[in-house]
Symmetry: C2
Subunit: 320 residues, 2 copies
DNA sequence: CTAGGTGCAAATAATTTGCAGAGGC
DNA sequence: GCCTCTGCAAATTATTTGCACCTAG
């Protein structure tokens, strides 16, 4: 489960100079799991390279944050901690008040709620801090839980993102298949068939990647959830499929598809950007584009159908 | 919109001694809106009472936090800020990186998601920090937004809690009325009628309180949302009523009622505890108890019906 | 009278800065 | 050789502590 160290040159900010000391500090920092405070890092660095000044470590840390190689986090201890951002997506924290360790999670649901709240208050959000303070399982029960390193976090993130993507595509496939059989308009039916085929292809790609991932870590399946997403967990299209089952007309089916694709596009975009594994990222961003194309297709189709039906038919209601 | 200052004696922790200086510091602190840092408070206090030591202010602040009169908050500035807890429920923050002011919100959705996440990780949460950092409307557009004082926050909190309670009760009334007409079993029908009557009563009480509240502040209706709750916004029972419309049997109707009442009880309990206005708190906590009683009633009824139908009937499906 | 509150000054803790010298390009 | 990096020590900022003194109960 070892992973290559990042390319130091890539991390250097424009105009900066290479220096053995900086590289040393950076290397020690990147080797660390979890969240180091500046002084802890000074001790760690000095242990293997005595004579490195405290100020240098502080300055290097600033430089790393500026360069995007590290993130400053505040757990309310009255000092800063730092976490490597290399191959480590932005996330939220569970912070144990007893052992002062922290574990990480992501929640798409929390993120979208915060976006909505910010919008409702006309606030332009840049970043969110979400921390759950309390007592961890280990401190309460004494049961040992194995520490999770950065490489594992990355795998677990990918696992969860893939699980949700698979659920999304699976429900999408179900939705389009069902929609195709129900649609009366032949042109609309073709569109739905086409989209069903695409979702089937996506599903296959995702399942293959999921298997590749599982091969990298035999325990992967059993690790705790990192990325929570109720919306996708049940399949973004699941609600739409349910609506179909209750009976809707062709136009309404298209509208439901539009709503679902919008959510799906957003999902792939949001997590594609967070992927630190470049292959996974590529798959997600590609899918995001395709879902966006589906969206456009559905919108075009909806408009075409509406125009063909003429203004009078627009008032027609669902035929239950 | 002036409000009485809290009873200082009530805030003093057991064993503490009254002191003119402390009272002075406390008074200045409570007069402050927003979040003061310790040093800011020192300056504010010294302006009207020179010769009060910095340490005294720091110690008084500690004492206030211990006594529950103040809360320590950390906006990542490298120092603590303090907010009065008197008539001011726990909340989350929107923090402007440009003007360093903060505004507040609550979200039941975010809170329940965090409870779920904590549970999934076997973590015992004590409190949560949620901060949205970014740029506020005023800093972006230059448009002045009137500052909101503590008394207003309290009113807006009550307004939002009541709005959601009203939506909940309204959908509950709808649900039970509908359920009563659909239920075949006469005993079950009586139960639903009874519950509908109760919800109607609750609804009347809540609407009366809402009007009283509106009278206190003519602009109340137009103020921005403080408490976000998608679940209740559409009515906790709304989904249940929808299910009814699609056809369910008597047992299933009871089960849906149980699920809704559980949510409803939780809602009244959660926000009843947060109310700083004692009348509002009383109403909410009373309703929480009644919803709990409804829940018990429904559960008893469900068991009775199940036993009457006998084990074979348990396997019966919905009659669509 | 005495536990607890208070002011002042000194201590601490985390971090930053000034400056002379070292080192990369 | 220039410009940036580095180490050390001193400065700064937010907060706490020690201690002699004061005050309410």
């Amino acid at each position: 489960m070892d992973r290559p160290l990042p390319d130091l040159t890539r991390l250097r900010p424009a105009g900066g100079k290479r220096s053995t000391k900086r590289d040393r500090i950076l290397t020690v920092f990147l080797r660390q799991e979890g969240h180091v405070s500046a002084d802890e890092l000074v001790d760690l660095v000095r242990r293997e390279a005595p004579g490195i000044g405290r100020a240098t470590v502080y300055r290097t840390l600033q430089w790393m944050v500026g360069a995007g190689a590290a993130r400053k986090v505040d757990f309310g201890e009255g000092r800063w901690r730092f976490e490597a951002s290399y191959r480590h997506p932005r996330h939220f924290h569970l912070i144990c008040s007893s052992c002062h360790r922290s574990s990480e999670f992501l929640s798409s649901d929390v993120e979208s709620l915060m976006e909505e709240i910010a919008a409702a208050r006309h606030f332009a959000p840049t970043q969110s801090v979400v921390q759950i303070h309390g007592t961890c399982e280990e401190c309460r029960t004494g049961k040992q839980t194995p520490p999770i390193d950065g490489a594992t976090t990355e795998l677990v993130f990918a696992r969860d993102a893939l699980r949700m993507a698979i659920a999304t595509e699976r429900s999408g496939l179900d939705f389009y298949t069902r929609a195709a059989t129900r649609t009366k308009d032949p042109r609309g039916r073709t569109v739905f068939h086409k989209l069903a085929a695409e979702e089937r292809k996506h599903l296959a790609t995702l399942q293959k990647r999921y298997q590749e991932l599982s091969a990298k870590d035999p325990q992967l399946e059993s690790r705790p959830t990192f990325l929570f997403f109720k919306g996708a967990a049940s399949g973004l299209f699941a609600a739409g499929a349910e609506q179909l089952r209750r009976g809707v007309n062709d136009q309404q089916a298209l509208l439901i598809g539009i709503r679902c694709e919008r959510g799906s596009h957003k999902f792939f975009k949001r997590y594609g950007e967070r992927f630190e594994d470049s292959e996974g990222k590529q798959v997600f961003l590609e899918f995001a584009d395709e879902e966006r194309a589906h969206l456009d297709l559905l919108i075009r189709e909806y408009r075409a159908l509406r125009d063909r039906l003429g203004p009078r038919a627009r008032r027609a209601k669902a035929h239950r």
